[in-house]
Each structure stands twice: as structure tokens, then as C-alpha cells.
């Protein structure tokens, strides 16, 4: 059975791709994932804001208290000026080592904060050997003075800038919070995206009642969360040129099969790998193969998009009617 899939022009041996997570932050983790069957690896994001923050913090702490008191003109040894790797060096080294370590495509992930950062770091990633770049446009539109169209425009600007800066494929990972998700997807397609990765899960802060404080809260996903990407992949499949990667809520072979039927070229996962380890990927892969064999599918390609909105018997099932029916049943 042919299990291959095409993702942004790259032929992957199967559709399972670990997404950016702590597991892909070290070479051992990457090796384990490759051994488990991963078809490509998405590295954790390079955060421009983090780099800027780290640089400012380093300077601040190296200067804090200096030149103030005669016995302690400074408080730290300061390595020769070229010794600090304060920029993306560590990340790029990781890209390079990941490339050397594995035989599967390495997708670098980038979260910029300035236009110069997006393009410069994207170029750096390409030069370091990344096979593709995933733009992790992690943006919570919290400014009440910024209209939705400006937010959308910014996505397109970032994509266009990066697209023209590099020659490798560029994917855009985005959240679902657009007034017209389908139109947004189309615009990104037109602006040159090679893939859409649906969807980013925003960290959602919590309130700690003991401390009476707002605290960051990372909750790993559950299978039911895959419904959101499922719907939108099904809607978009066949309507735009880009590859489609599903992410969020993939925990079982069934989940992966459903997303493939909806039209996903690639299934990304992180939570299940963090919970169960790399062998979860093997289990899902084996489960998919087994199910497909049992159900006599010849290839992944055959199954892909088979229940997309375009191909399913009831296209409205993915739209508003679905909600109405559910509501009626509840009533």
C-alpha cells in the first residue's frame, strides 16, 4: 500500500509529522521520533521576541551595578566580543545538526516580531539547511483599535516578505479566529503559502485561586479538539492550492484517518507524543495502516479528501446546518 503523501512539494513516506514541541528541541528526541516513523520533523519555534529579550536582558545584567563602586567596577567576566551567541545561532545550529542527524525533512518554525526579523531569520534557516519553514504567526489580536482587516493584512505581508526572501517551501500556521477563515486561507494561498497548518493552539491563561494570580496554563489537547481543523480542512480541501496540515487533537489512528479523509496532506501531533512518548507515533501509523488494509484502501492518496466538503454526500454538514441540527436535537 502506498502510504506516501506530498507536502509542499516534498514527498513524505507517510503523513505523520511531529509538530513543534520540546521533543523536537533536542537531537535525541528527533532521533527517537524518526525511529518511530516520523515522516518529517517540525522544530520548535525560533522566537524573535525571545532573542531580543535575551539580548536586552544580557546587556542589562552585565551592566547592572557596574562602574558604580570602586572595588567592583564590574560583576561578570565579559567574554571577548565575538563569544556571545545571542542571536539565532543556537537555533540554526540545531537545524544543521537535525539535518545531519536525520534522513527526513526538517521544517524550521519561526515566530517573528518585526518584518526584518521574519525575513532575516527565514533566510538564516534556509542557509542552515531547513527543508521548509513554518511561519508560526502567533498573534492574539487584543488591541481594540486594530480592525480585523489590518490583522489579516499583516499575515499576508509577513508571508509575502518571507516568501520572497527564501526559495524553500513556506507553510503558515495560524489560528482559527478570522471572520472569514476560508477567504483568509485563499488570500494566503494567493500570497504564496505552500501549506496551511490548521490550527495553532493559543496558550490560554488561567486564574490560580490560591495565589489570586493569572497564571500561564499549558493544557495538552484532546481528541475532540480535532473537530475544528477537521471542519476547515474539509472545507478548504480542493479549493486552494496549498498543502494542508492538520494539527491539534490527533491522538489516535482514527483521528489521523478522519483528518486525512477531510483532506489533510499531513497530520501533525505533539500532545500525544508528549504524553505517551515517540512510540505513540508508531502506534498511530500502524493503526492507520491496519485500518486502511482492513477497509481495503490502496493508498493514502485514495483516502485523502474523500470526506471533504467537496466530496462528501452532504456538503452542508460542514456548515451552519450542522449547528442547527445539533441544536434541534438538543431542544
Amino acid at each position: 500500500m502506498n502510504f506516501e503523501t506530498n507536502y509542499m512539494g516534498m514527498t513524505l513516506k507517510n503523513p505523520l509529522v511531529p509538530s513543534a514541541s520540546p521533543m523536537t528541541s533536542d537531537l535525541d528526541g528527533i532521533r527517537r521520533l524518526e525511529d518511530a516513523g516520523a515522516a518529517a520533523i517540525v522544530l520548535p519555534s525560533l522566537f524573535e521576541e525571545q532573542i531580543r529579550h535575551d539580548a536586552a536582558e544580557l546587556v542589562h545584567h552585565l551592566e547592572q551595578g557596574t562602574n558604580s563602586y570602586g572595588e567592583a567596577i564590574t560583576y561578570f567576566p565579559e567574554p571577548a566580543s565575538d563569544e556571545f551567541a545571542i542571536g539565532p545561532e543556537a537555533y540554526l545550529k540545531h537545524v544543521d545538526e537535525a539535518k545531519r542527524t536525520t534522513g527526513v525533512p526538517i521544517i524550521a518554525s519561526l515566530n517573528g516580531s518585526t518584518m526584518g526579523g521574519w525575513t532575516d531569520y527565514a533566510r538564516n534557516m534556509e542557509q542552515a539547511g531547513a527543508d521548509a519553514i513554518e511561519l508560526n504567526i502567533y498573534h492574539v489580536a487584543a488591541d481594540i483599535d486594530v480592525p480585523g482587516e489590518d490583522v489579516e493584512k499583516r499575515y499576508i505581508e509577513i508571508l509575502s516578505a518571507v516568501r520572497s526572501a527564501v526559495n524553500i517551501p513556506v507553510a503558515v500556521k495560524l489560528g482559527p479566529y478570522f471572520s472569514s477563515m476560508a477567504n483568509m486561507a485563499k488570500k494566503l494561498d494567493e500570497a504564496g503559502a505552500d501549506a496551511l497548518v490548521l490550527f495553532n493552539r493559543f496558550y490560554q491563561p488561567d486564574i490560580d485561586l490560591e495565589l489570586i494570580e493569572v497564571v500561564p496554563n499549558v493544557v495538552l489537547s484532546n481528541s475532540h479538539e480535532l473537530r475544528l481543523p477537521l471542519r476547515w480542512i474539509a472545507i478548504l480541501y480542493g479549493r486552494i492550492e496549498t498543502s494542508l496540515a492538520a494539527t491539534t487533537g490527533v491522538h489516535s489512528a482514527q483521528d489521523a484517518i478522519k483528518l486525512t479523509m477531510a483532506g489533510a496532506d499531513v497530520i501533525q501531533m505533539a500532545s500525544t507524543l508528549l504524553r505517551r512518548g515517540s512510540h505513540a507515533l508508531t502506534d498511530i501509523l500502524d493503526g492507520m495502516k491496519q485500518w486502511m488494509e482492513e477497509n481495503e484502501y490502496e493508498s493514502l492518496q485514495q483516502m485523502k479528501g474523500s470526506l471533504s466538503q467537496k466530496s462528501c454526500p452532504d456538503p452542508t454538514a460542514f456548515e451552519r446546518a450542522n449547528y442547527m441540527r445539533a441544536l434541534q436535537r438538543y431542544m
Binding site: A55, V59, H61, E63, G65, S68, G70, Y75
Partner: protein
């Protein structure tokens, strides 16, 4: 002339540059002002820089200077080229080995940034008292007077030492030369190779100890041969001066810079000559140039080679015309009939005269004088006074210059207006804050001007005695000729005032010349600045026709995202206004310098700085100066008129920057100063201060206990006291049974607070409606200053609560006790001082404190004002700093006195029992003083006793009066940092703990030598970067607590106030109550950790939660109760070591410089933390098991 690079460096770097290239082994130990030499060596080695021989020198940090000297001796004996760097007490600790090294004729050079030896007081500043203490050791001594000479004579020292086999002490003046930044020509490795004859190095190696050709040294000799053997070295010493001169001649040929053993400058027919050495000779050189131009026949003899002293060379160097000579010594030998150089010159003359070799028509009259002790300024005006003295028929001998000695009348008068500064030299003074980056910017400007122009450049920086809110004064000179002005700028043509408030505190324009330029960082703009200037400043501006420029640097810096770092903005203004460089060139150079400084730390920082440069000029304005002053603003007195006379007339003058003008009579003869003086120095350095919200407050006392500066106080008092309270004074009902019927106030000292915000961070109470607010919140100080000052005064006048009413074994209870340690000069947010303050609250009224040199001795004892305070009865801690290395022994001495005189006093009471009443005697002798109430009762008895004794006319009665205080229990505290306890003082500490005597040792463990700038100690954790561990410390933290516990009879506790403040209070009380040695190791966050100081207590919490610093108390008393002595007070690790570590730059910076090492070391450090916890846990379990079975591990 050659391709030697021109560099802008200070004396320390100049010496280290040569030392690093030549040596195989470098043993180091930090001591101001020589520490940077060791830091350079360690840093270069960690970068893998190679020496002349193509190898990276082995740099070893030792536990003391004594240790460093021992290691040097050993390395020399086994054939290495070896050096060390030191100063002052450090050099004194090396003396025993120096005798040995010289006795064994071993080539070696020590580089010394000469510093005052502590006598009546410690001083970190420069004079020759330390090197003069080494005269007997048999070392050669070469004195450098400038940064260039420091580099040059360093190399000459090596060449001469290798050839002569006599070790050399190469010295230059601490701070004046060690820290002066100057344009120099750097010696190249080829220069050094040319100067060193490798055959001598090979000979040195061939003399080394080796089992291949064994020899024995260090024998014990007896009366039969020792003497003769001691004389055997004489030919080497006799040859040495010629060898040095030959090396100097080779050097001159190589570089064009010519030196002689004694270098004469001045009129060839001079009748008056000054002889001196060190940096002061440069000021003298500048002065004689002017005097000669004015027609005076004067000369100057600079002593380069002080030992071996060569009278022949000395005499040959002097002009035959000389009639009178003044020999200036930068040291004092009380009781001697003159200082060393003076006596050497006298002896040379007398010898030559008696042997008929005197090359003068008549023997010149020779007088000696002292100058420049502890970096006292030595100016051309003083030089002139010295020459003027020689004009007299009977010149004053044994004089002093630079002070006013109204007691012994040794001092020469001098005319301060005598000025030799040439007009073509730009002389600039900048007043800044340590935190605003002024000094850094000025160092940068020196580099720019030195690099970009043919001008010579010099920078000297004067720092504050306080670490929080410290003021810096930079003195810069730029000119067309080499600059010899080894004194502060006295007549400035440019003044930068980088903080508006200085205009009201310091005489900013006192040293401005006519038509000078004043640049002010002013929040008032060009139109309003004039109206806000104090009247005196306006008058000075008008009288001196000063041009004034203003910029709101904070606004410009803020807009560029630079926060409060106004350095780049002010630097740009300086270049724009001073015209040192054409504007465009200057801006390009500044930008280039920024790129060099920050480029490696990220483009973002560079961009921000560039943006600041670009926006500066548009915001720089000249102020129109009216014809007459208009201001009513007066410059306030430095201290309150209510303060004691001594504070006003002496300390106040020092605060005002006029300490140099205090006469000898103003100062104590023996270093004894009154305590309780910090209260008078209202520094007003906080931008924001905490404001108490009584409604939200839960009265836990945490804000007060963590306050590093004792500026948050709590009192409970009768509500009736409020009748005269100021209108804004806050009060609420006190909670808790013991406070029934009382009101409570938490009051901030607005003018003493440093604004660290630790109180706000620790406050556990949250405002119910707005969770961002707590029971204590920061608010801008200026609008609160007046009202809160009034409130604080009222608060202080409220009576202290009866101490017996308090549960002092709790955080809350302890914080109603009056701190007897307040408003110290420690860093804002200091992690040490809360422990010190707690100790003072609990036991201050009866404590004697022995304080090791370090941060705690500086914030505890650096003048002008000191923080140790007294209570209403006039009692409080009595404090003394002896040395760095002897503090435990010093404190033990306190205990020996307390015990001995106590015993003696009780014996006397017994002898006088019939006269004073047997009951009284019994009560006194057997008084139970285990609790405070018992001590109070004993004090009352002793007071009655003394009154009674006064009426008894017996010698024993008089004797008892003199020791009666010893009948009252004393609390002996031995304070110091980890550098002392883990390293230099460890042997003594161990002995004192082993002695079983009742002393309390408080180790303020910052895990580095904080006071000298963060050098690695044995307490430094693995993976942390520190100076001397630039590549990250590779081994784990020494477990001092575990070592101390092995004795079994030592009370040991580890505390971290930010993790468990109640446990801290308990540990202090238990330690003091324990009738034996107690050791408290207190985790103290520190500015040297590279943290946000406001988070200090939270980081302490993580230190404990990560297992890095487990909390426990080991109380031997518990064993007598059948319990386990070891009580673990912290839980198993629950946060990762990485979470603790990576909030701190000391760990994090390694991830940026050496990521692989950082990862490896962090893993090991995590294991260290885990194992440490497990070790304590298993020990606690074992002790518990032993206790349960009635076993006893210790006798």
C-alpha cells in the same frame, strides 16, 4: 616609528598584558585594586589566548594571598615562570613566601597595585605602605608612575629578574594608575621576546626541583652556617642595579622610551630637587616644567629602582648644583625618624660624604615629607609648596603636604590656585550616577578620542562609598601631548551634570574655569531650566560666563527604548558641545563604538543606542543666561541641624565633598567613631517608595523583615498617642492577642528607602477589588517626601513596645523590635542586610560584632556615615573590622574577653560580697541571663552595683567598676561573606568552631566575592559564571554546613529568608541561645548574580525548592533531649535546578557564550542539588533513627 598598537587601557590591564604573555603559571586571589589583573588573566586563559611560548598559562585561583604566594613559590621551585597580582593586606600575606623566594634567588615578578595597609581604618586606595612593608624581603622593587610606565617596567622587571635571579616587586599606584585609563603604546609579543633572554629561562628551569637530578632546598640551618649562607647572595644584589639599567637600555633601544634607575628631570643647574617615586612624580614633573618656565631652578628625581637601592646611581643622577632636597614618601612609619625613601637618601648622602665621594660642593640639606596617603590628591600646587619649603633657610622637615595638620603642625601650606593645566588640554568633569552609565560612556569617549585622533587621553573615575544610588565623578583630559596630570581635574573647561539633583547637593561648578561649558541633563527644557537652578549655581554661571546646554536625556533615552541608561545620549551631547571632534566624525565614531561594545550582544541593543544618538542633537539646546541671578533655591545643609556636632562638623563635611579640608584635629586619633550616624544622611535616592494600605494589610511583618535598609518599620502603640499625629499618618487596629487595645502603623522612611521594591514582592496580601495592588505598593517619592518624612519623624518618636510583650520567635513578633542596623550603604535590594538587621533587632543591644572585610564591612563601616545604631537607652551593637582572613579568631577574642573578664568580675564581686551585700553578690554571680528579661534584671543589678562601688574605697572596688559591664551577658557575632568563611578564613573559622566557645557565626553566603566584583569562591555553585571562573565553575559548592556538623557540638543552620522567614528567625534565636559555637549560613541573593534584585526573595525560595540550598537546623541541644539534632526545614526538590538557575545571569550567560558547556554543567549542577538534598535527608533519617533507639553518634 613602529607597528605597536595604540591602546586605551588602565594600569591593571597594562601589567596583566605583560604578565600573561611571559608566565606559565599565574596564581590569583582578589583584592582591590589589583583584582582586575587576575580577572584579565583568567578571562584570557578561558578564551584560550596563548602566551609568548605558544601555550595558555595555567591560572589558578587560591584561597588567600598567602595561598597564592605558596602556590607561586611551589611553581617557581619546579621551574615555571610564575606570577601573581596583589595589594595591601594581600601583599602582607605574601611576605613569608617572598623571603623564601628571594632567599632562594628565584626569578619572579609580582605585580602590585600599591594600596594603603589598614591601620586605624581600612582604605582601598593607593599609597606605598604595602610595598614599603616588603623592603626586608630581598625583592627588587621597580616603581611605575603611569600606565605606560606600568607596562614598560613590567617587562623590564622580568628581564632584570631573569638575569639577576632576584625576584621583583613591580608596583604602581592603586587606583591612580591601576584604574586610570590612558592612551598607551602596547608592547608586542616580539618586544617581549626581544627583551627576554631565553637562556635565563632555561637556567631557571634547570635549577628546578626534579627527581631526575634531585636536590634539596628549604633546609634548616643552625648558628654555625646560617649567617654565612645568608651573605652568599650578596654579589647578586650588587650586580642587580647594573642589570636593571642594561635592561632599561635595551628597552630604550627597542621602544624609544628611556628609563634609568633614577631619572632626573628639570634644570641642569637646579638648586632644589624633589626625590620621589610613583604616580605623584608625574604631577611633580608637570609642576617643575611650569616652575622652570617661571625661572626657578628646580629639579625632580624619579626613583625607578627602589631596591636594590643604588646610592651611586642616585648620587650620579643628581645635579651637582643641588643645595636642598625634599624626599617625598607616600607612606608613614609612626615612631621612625623618617620615612623609608628619605632615610635611604640620607644614608646614601652620609655614606658618600663620610667616604669623601659626595659629588656636591657642599652636602645638600635633605628634608623628608609625607604625601598622598590613601590616594590623597597630590597636585602641582602641593609640589610647588614642597619646592617653596626648600627655599627657606630652615625648611620644615618631616612635613606633610596635602592636609592641614593643626595638631603636630607638620603640614606645609599650599596655594590651591597654582594651576599647571595647559589651555590646549580639554579638561572635563562629569557628575553621574553609577546606574546611568556615565562612567562607561566616558571610558568609551576616551577610546574614541584616543583611537580617532592624535590626541592623548586620560580618564580617572571617583566612585561613591555607598553602593546604592552611588554618585560617580569622571575626570577626563584630552590633549596634544602625553598627559602627566596624575590628579583630578582641578580647572575644568567642560562640566557634565548628568543628574539634576546634583546641582543641589554637590558644588558642580566649583572647578569650572571661566567660559567653561556646562551640560545638564535637565527635565525643565531650555526655557525653564534657569528658573530651577539653585541661586549659587546661577551666580557661578554668571560670574564665570559659563555656557549652559540642556537635554532631557531621560526622555530621549526612554523614547529610544533605553530606559534609564542615558549614557549614549549624554556622550553624544558631550561630543556635540565640546567640539573635541567634528560633529559628523564624532557621531560616526560613537556609532562605531556602540557597534563594538554591543554588537556581540545583539543588533537590537545596537539599534536602540544608534537611535538614541540620532535623536539626541535635536533635543539639545543652549540656555540663554540672564545678567543676574533670580533663584530663591538654596543648597541645603548636608545633614540636619539637629544632628550631633561631630556629625555636622565632620561627617557632614565629608558628605558635602569637603572632607579634604578637614584638619587633623577634626578626626579621631585611633579610628574610633560614634555609631548611629546613618540616620543623618538623607540620601533621597528612591524614585519610588512603598506606600502602606492598612485596609489590605494582614500585619504579617514580611515587608519589614525583608527590607534591606530598615526603611519599613512597624510599631504598636496606645491609640492615645495619635492625638498629635500628622494628618496623613496612617494607623489601624493592631491584630493579635498580644497587641490588644493597641494601634499599629507600618511606616516607610521616605528619604532613606532605596526603592528596591522587595517589600512589595514579598507582600502576601492582595487588594480584594484590584488584584494588582497589595498591602504595600510603590508610588513616586517626590510628592510623598515631605508628608512621609513628617510621618516618619512622628513614628520614630512613638515609644518602642515592651519587648517582653512580643513573640519574638515569629516573623511578626521580631519586626516590632527596633532595628539597630539601618540605612546602610548596601546595594538596593541587598540580600545580606535583612539578616544583619534581624540580628540587630534580636540581640543588638548586647552584641559585639566582629566583621570580616567584604561587603558587610563596607556597608557596615564605610564613612562618612555608618548604619549600626543605638536604642533609646543608648545601647547597640559595638562593631569592629579586623582583617579579611582573621575574623573568626578576632571574634573569638571578643568571647575570650567576655568570658575572662566576666569571670574576673564575678571573682571581684565574690571578694567584695561583704561590702556590697551577700545577697546582691549572689544574685549577680548566679544571674540567669538566658532570656532578655534576665539580662535586663542583671543590667539593673550591675548599675546599682557600680553606684555602690563608687562609695567603696578599695582597689578591688575600683577594679570591679572597670570590668562590671562584663557581668552582663554579651552576644558575640562573627559576620562575613563566603569568601571569608569558605576560603581565606576557613582555617580560622574551623578552629573557632572546634573551640566550643560561645560565638555566633553568620555567613552571608552570596556564593561569590561580592565586594570585589564577583570572583568565584568555594561556595560558588557549579555551572555559574564568576570572575576567575569565566568558563563556568566546573566543580560543586563546598558544603560548609556539613563540614561544621561533623563536630557534633556546633549549632548549624542554613537559612534563606525568602524561602522560610520563620525558620530564619528561629535559627537566629536558637543559635544565640546555644551555649557553644553556632554557624548560620544565610543564602543571600546578590547583584553579582545578575538578577532583578526585586525578585531576590523569590529566587531564594527557588534556591531552596530546587534542592540547591536545603534548609535545616542542627541543634546539639536536641540530642540531650533524646531528639534528633538535625531538623530538615525544607521539602524535597520541587522545582528544577534550571528554573532556579536560569533566572540568573550568572548561569544564563554561559548558555550564550558556551552553550555546550552550559548544558553539561547544568546537568551536573542539577545532580549536585539532588544529591545534596538526598545526603541531608539520609543524614536526618539516620539521626532520627539513632535518637529513636537512644543511640548517640557523638560524645
Amino acid at each position: 616609528m613602529n607597528d605597536r598598537p595604540t591602546v586605551m587601557i588602565d594600569g591593571n590591564e597594562a601589567a596583566a598584558h605583560v604578565a600573561y604573555h611571559i608566565n606559565d603559571v599565574i596564581a590569583i586571589y582578589p583584592i582591590t585594586p589589583s583584582s582586575p589583573m587576575g580577572e584579565w588573566a583568567d578571562q584570557w586563559a578561558s578564551e584560550g589566548r596563548r602566551n609568548l611560548w605558544g601555550s595558555v598559562p595555567s591560572v589558578a585561583e587560591m584561597q588567600s594571598e598567602g595561598g597564592a604566594a605558596g602556590a607561586v613559590h611551589g611553581a617557581l621551585q619546579t621551574g615555571s615562570m610564575t606570577t601573581t597580582f596583589t595589594a595591601s593586606q594581600g601583599l602582607l600575606l605574601m611576605i613569608p613566601n617572598m623571603f623564601k623566594i628571594a632567599g632562594e634567588l628565584t626569578p619572579c615578578v609580582f605585580h602590585v597595585a600599591a594600596r594603603t595597609v589598614a591601620t586605624h581604618a581600612l582604605s582601598i586606595f593607593g599609597d606605598h605602605s604595602d610595598v614599603m612593608a616588603c623592603r626586608m624581603t630581598g625583592w627588587g622593587m621597580l616603581a611605575a608612575g603611569s600606565v605606560q610606565e606600568t607596562m614598560d617596567l613590567a617587562l623590564i622587571s622580568y628581564a632584570a629578574s631573569l638575569e639577576s635571579r632576584i625576584p621583583f616587586l613591580h608596583f604602581f599606584d592603586g587606583f591612580r594608575t591601576s584604574h586610570e585609563v590612558m592612551k598607551c603604546e602596547s608592547l608586542t609579543p616580539d618586544d617581549m621576546r626581544s627583551m627576554l633572554d631565553e637562556r635565563h629561562i632555561a637556567a631557571h628551569r634547570a635549577r628546578a626541583l626534579s627527581p631526575e637530578r634531585p636536590a634539596i632546598r628549604g633546609t634548616a640551618q643552625n648558628p654555625d652556617v646560617f649567617f654565612q649562607a645568608r651573605e652568599a647572595c650578596n654579589p647578586h644584589y650588587m650586580r642587580c642595579p647594573a642589570i636593571v639599567q642594561l635592561a632599561m637600555d635595551r628597552f630604550a633601544k627597542l621602544t624609544g622610551r628611556s628609563y634609568h634607575l633614577f631619572d632626573y628631570f628639570g634644570a641642569p643647574d637646579a638648586d632644589r630637587v624633589v626625590i620621589m617615586m610613583g604616580s605623584g612624580a608625574e604631577a611633580a614633573h608637570e609642576a617643575i616644567n611650569q616652575l622652570i618656565t617661571a625661572g626657578e631652578k628646580v629639579g625632580l628625581l624619579k626613583v625607578r629602582l627602589y631596591r636594590p637601592f643604588s646610592p651611586d646611581h642616585l648620587l650620579a643622577a643628581l645635579p651637582a648644583s643641588v643645595k636642598s632636597i625634599a624626599v617625598l614618601d607616600r607612606t608613614k612609619e609612626p615612631g621612625a625618624d623618617g620615612e623609608p625613601l628619605y632615610k635611604d637618601v640620607q644614608a646614601a648622602m652620609i655614606e658618600a660624604w663620610s667616604e669623601g665621594r659626595l659629588p656636591f660642593a657642599t652636602p645638600p640639606r635633605i628634608v623628608g615629607g609625607r604625601y598622598g596617603l590613601s590616594s590623597k590628591e597630590f597636585t602641582p600646587a602641593m609640589v610647588k609648596a614642597v619646592y617653596d619649603n626648600l627655599k627657606s633657610d630652615r625648611p620644615k622637615n618631616h612635613f606633610t603636604i596635602g592636609i592641614r595638620d593643626d595638631i603636630s603642625h607638620t603640614s606645609l601650606e599650599f596655594d590651591e590656585s597654582f594651576d599647571t593645566e595647559p589651555n590646549d588640554v580639554v579638561r572635563a568633569i562629569f557628575f553621574g550616577l553609577g546606574s546611568d552609565g556615565t562612567v562607561g560612556a566616558n571610558k568609551n569617549s576616551i577610546k574614541i578620542i584616543g583611537d580617532e585622533t592624535p590626541n592623548y587621553a586620560q580618564g580617572y573615575f571617583v566612585y561613591d562609598s555607598k553602593k546604592a544610588g552611588s554618585v560617580t565623578v569622571s575626570h577626563l583630559r584630552f590633549g596634544p601631548r602625553p598627559i602627566r596630570s596624575t590628579y583630578q581635574v582641578g580647572s575644568a573647561n567642560f562640566i557634565g551634570c548628568h543628574q539634576w539633583t546634583f546641582l543641589e547637593k554637590v558644588d558642580v561648578l566649583g572647578r569650572a574655569v571661566k567660559n567653561a561649558t556646562l551640560l545638564i541633563n535637565s527635565p525643565y527644557g531650555k526655557d525653564d531650566t534657569w528658573n530651577h537652578l539653585p541661586r549659587k549655581v546661577q551666580e557661578q554661571i554668571i560670574a564665570k560666563k559659563i555656557k549652559v546646554f540642556v537635554i532631557d536625556a531621560y526622555e530621549v533615552a526612554k523614547a529610544a527604548g533605553m530606559g534609564s541608561r542615558i549614557n549614549t545620549v549624554m556622550q553624544t551631547c558631550f561630543f556635540a558641545v565640546s567640539g573635541v571632534l567634528p560633529k559628523d566624525e564624532a557621531i560616526a565614531a560613537i556609532k562605531n563604538a556602540i557597534k563594538k561594545t554591543y554588537g556581540a550582544k545583539g543588533d537590537e541593543v545596537v539599534k536602540k543606542n544608534w537611535e538614541a544618538v540620532d535623536t539626541t542633537l535635536a533635543n539639545l539646546f543652549e540656555v540663554a543666561i540672564p545678567d543676574a541671578p533670580s533663584s530663591d533655591i538654596r543648597i541645603p545643609l548636608p545633614v540636619s541641624g539637629e544632628s550631633p556636632e561631630f556629625v555636622q562638623t565632620v561627617l557632614g563635611e565629608m558628605i558635602a565633598g569637603r572632607g579634604d579640608y578637614l584638619p587633623v584635629s577634626a578626626l579621631p586619633i585611633d579610628g574610633t567613631f560614634p555609631t548611629n550616624t546613618a540616620q543623618w544622611e538623607k540620601r533621597n535616592i528612591a524614585h519610588e517608595i512603598p506606600v502602606w494600605d492598612p485596609k489590605t494589610c494582614i500585619q504579617c511583618g514580611k515587608c519589614a523583615i525583608v527590607c534591606p535598609h530598615a526603611t519599613i518599620r512597624i510599631k504598636a502603640y496606645e491609640p492615645s498617642s495619635l492625638s498629635s499625629a500628622p494628618t496623613t499618618f496612617k494607623s489601624t487596629e493592631a491584630r493579635g492577642k498580644e497587641f490588644e487595645g493597641l494601634n499599629l502603623t507600618i511606616q516607610v522612611a521616605p528619604e532613606d528607602c532605596t526603592g528596591c521594591g522587595i517589600c512589595v514582592e514579598i507582600c502576601p496580601a492582595k487588594n480584594k477589588s484590584e488584584a494588582r495592588l497589595k498591602a504595600i505598593n510603590m508610588a513616586p517619592q517626590p510628592p510623598l517626601r515631605e508628608g512621609e518624612s513628617e510621618n516618619y519623624k512622628f513614628f520614630l518618636d512613638l515609644p518602642e513596645i515592651d519587648r517582653d510583650r512580643l513573640k519574638i520567635n515569629s516573623v511578626k513578633g521580631s519586626q516590632f523590635l527596633q532595628p539597630l542596623f539601618e540605612y546602610s550603604g548596601a546595594c538596593s535590594g541587598c540580600g545580606e542586610t535583612p539578616y544583619v538587621k534581624l540580628m540587630s533587632q534580636l540581640f543588638g543591644d548586647r552584641s559585639l560584632i566582629a566583621n570580616a572585610t567584604g561587603c558587610s564591612s563596607i556597608y557596615g563601616g564605610n564613612l562618612p556615615t555608618t548604619p549600626w545604631a543605638t536604642n533609646a537607652e543608648g545601647r547597640g551593637p559595638a562593631w569592629c573590622n579586623s582583617l579579611f582572613e582573621d575574623n573568626a579568631e578576632f571574634g573569638l577574642g571578643f568571647r575570650l574577653t567576655a568570658d575572662k573578664l566576666g569571670e574576673y568580675a564575678r571573682e571581684l564581686v565574690g571578694r567584695l560580697a561583704e561590702r556590697i551585700g551577700r545577697d546582691v553578690a549572689e544574685a549577680i554571680i548566679h544571674a540567669d541571663q538566658s532570656a532578655e528579661s534576665g539580662i535586663r534584671a542583671q543590667r539593673a543589678r550591675v548599675a546599682d552595683l557600680v553606684a555602690r562601688l563608687a562609695t567603696i574605697n578599695e582597689p578591688d572596688a575600683q577594679r570591679l567598676i572597670s570590668v562590671a559591664e562584663a557581668l552582663v551577658k554579651k552576644s558575640i557575632w562573627i559576620l562575613g561573606g563566603d569568601g571569608w568563611a569558605y576560603d581565606i578564613g576557613y582555617g580560622g573559622l574551623d578552629h573557632v568552631l572546634a573551640s566550643g566557645r560561645n560565638v555566633n557565626v553568620l555567613v552571608l553566603d552570596t556564593e561569590v566575592y561580592s565586594n570585589t566584583g564577583g570572583q568565584c569562591s568555594k561556595s560558588t555553585p557549579r555551572a555559574a559564571v564568576a570572575k576567575f571562573a569565566a568558563g563556568g565553575k566546573s566543580l560543586g559548592k563546598k558544603d560548609l554546613a556539613m563540614i561544621a556538623m561533623t563536630y557534633g557540638h556546633v549549632y548549624v543552620a542554613t537559612v534563606a529568608m525568602g524561602a522560610n522567614d520563620n525558620q530564619t528567625v528561629k535559627a537566629f534565636l536558637e543559635a544565640e541561645a546555644y551555649d557553644g559555637p553556632s554557624l548560620i549560613i544565610a543564602y543571600s541573593h546578590c547583584i553579582a548574580h545578575g538578577i532583578n534584585m526585586r525578585d531576590g526573595m523569590d529566587i531564594q525560595n527557588q534556591a531552596v525548592d530546587s534542592g540547591h540550598f536545603p534548609l535545616f537546623r542542627y541543634n546539639p541541644m536536641l540530642r540531650t533531649e533524646g531528639k534528633s539534632p538535625l531538623v530538615l526545614d525544607s521539602k524535597p526538590p520541587r522545582v528544577s535546578f534550571a528554573d532556579f538557575a536560569y533566572r540568573q545571569n550568572r548561569f544564563k550567560m554561559l548558555t550564550k557564550s558556551k552553550p555546550d558547556d552550559a548544558k553539561r554543567l547544568l546537568n551536573l549542577a542539577s545532580q549536585d542539588a539532588k544529591h545534596r538534598w538526598e545526603r541531608y535527608k539520609s543524614l536526618a533519617d539516620a539521626e532520627a533513627a539513632m535518637a529513636a533507639t537512644g543511640g548517640n553518634g557523638h560524645s
